[in-house]
Amino acid sequence: MNLLLEGLSAACLLAGSFLCITGGVGLLRLPDFFSRVHAAGVTETLAAPLLLTGLMLQMDWSLDLLKVLLIMLFLLATNPTASHAMAKAALHGGQGPNDEKAEEDKGSIS
């Protein structure tokens, strides 16, 4: 039984960390702000729960398990909202999604 648990948690952790790194690299490589928001979104909203489930599988039933679940729920609630709010604010901030020209001159001012 716990072999299955071990395997599952290992898989989750692996997938989580892989997504993490791809998100990070995406954050650096992608040219435009809005594509970076997407990359950051991937890591925050997908890699985080994967890693936390991996962690939960390894822990035995205790108050701590409940707390990790709480953290996961909290992250799931806040991160998408934060990314959404950021994208909306950026849009309001006059930075069109994919007009490259706006990207250059906007970059110089702020």
């Binding site: 609630a77 909202t81 959404h84 709010a85 909306k88």
Partner: protein, 301 residues
């Protein structure tokens, strides 16, 4: 790094890393406080004052030679001082021989609560904590003296802070009860794990600040009007002071909690709980009043 907003964010990251370092050095309570205060309150206060004083910094004109010299001398004195220090974490260091072992051995018998830090904070060195609460009260008082609670015009009810963010408003509406509940948990959990009056007060205030940020401070001031806050802070301190004075009436030295109940253990429990409550109220009122004073002020060019 001339964009002060970025500096404020970097400072948030710095205090976050300090909190992680405290975790690694087995200081759960301190990491908790540093995270709640350093990354939370300080960053928010910095941002709200940067809003008032402008975001950009000019290149300093004068040469950095003298400061470098002073810093060099102080640094040399510090390094000179560290040469005879015991290594990191070696148990024979004098620090662990003299006063600390008493706390670790006697706290369970005398206090009966697992979190020794709260035991030392509230009872052994309770007078320090009274001083600490007074420092926070003084800060709130000073900001009140400087910026005045009614400054910056009347609150603008209903003005949404971040343009039209329906999604954000909905999620925040769901989250705030959870945050306030978490603050209550931290307040009462002080004796068993990391937490206590001070951290709880900060989390309460952060919850209210979040409400203020998203729904515009007009609504927030309707919930907790700014006029009450100085009095609330004063009430928090008087709760702490009266617990101490109560011991005086019974002829015991100040801040001796054993008078609160027949069995000294129960008395100390009660004393610590009351004291933490006093701190929580005071810190909540002060942090929120400072935030109101800064965020409510109109921008004078």
């Amino acid at each position: 790094m001339r964009d002060l907003f970025a500096v404020a964010m970097m400072f948030g990251i710095y205090s976050l890393l300090t909190a992680a370092l405290f975790m690694d050095l087995d200081a759960a309570d301190v990491a908790f406080t540093e995270a709640a205060v350093g990354a939370g309150v300080t960053t928010i206060l910095l941002l709200s004052s940067l809003r008032l004083t402008g975001r950009w910094e000019r290149r300093p004109k004068h040469s950095p030679l003298l400061p470098l010299l002073v810093v060099g001398v102080t640094g040399a004195a510090l390094v000179y001082g560290t040469l005879d220090m015991p290594h990191l974490g070696d148990p024979q260091a004098p620090v662990h021989q003299h006063v600390a072992p008493h706390y670790i051995e006697n706290a369970p018998q005398e206090m009966g609560i697992p979190n020794i830090v709260t035991a030392v904070l509230a009872s052994y060195r309770g007078f320090d904590t009274l001083g600490e609460t007074l420092v926070i009260f003084t800060a709130g008082l000073s900001v009140f003296l400087l910026l005045g609670s009614r400054a910056g015009g009347r609150p603008r009810p209903g003005k949404t802070a971040i343009g039209e963010q329906p999604v954000l408003r909905l999620v925040v509406k769901v989250l705030i009860p959870f945050i306030l509940l978490f603050a209550l948990y931290v307040q009462l959990h002080g004796e068993y794990g990391a937490g206590g009056g001070f951290q709880a007060g900060v989390i309460f205030a952060t919850g209210m600040v979040l409400y203020d940020l998203v729904f515009g401070e007009g609504d927030a001031r309707l919930v907790v009007p700014a006029r009450w806050l100085p009095r609330l802070a004063a009430f928090g301190i008087l709760v702490y002071g009266s617990v101490g004075l109560y011991a005086l009436l019974h002829g015991r030295p100040f801040l001796d909690y054993t008078v609160l109940a027949e069995d000294p253990m129960v008395g100390r429990h009660l004393g610590i709980l009351l004291v933490e409550l006093g701190i929580g109220i005071c810190v909540f009122a002060v942090v929120l009043s400072i935030f109101y004073a800064l965020s409510g002020r109109r921008r004078q060019p």
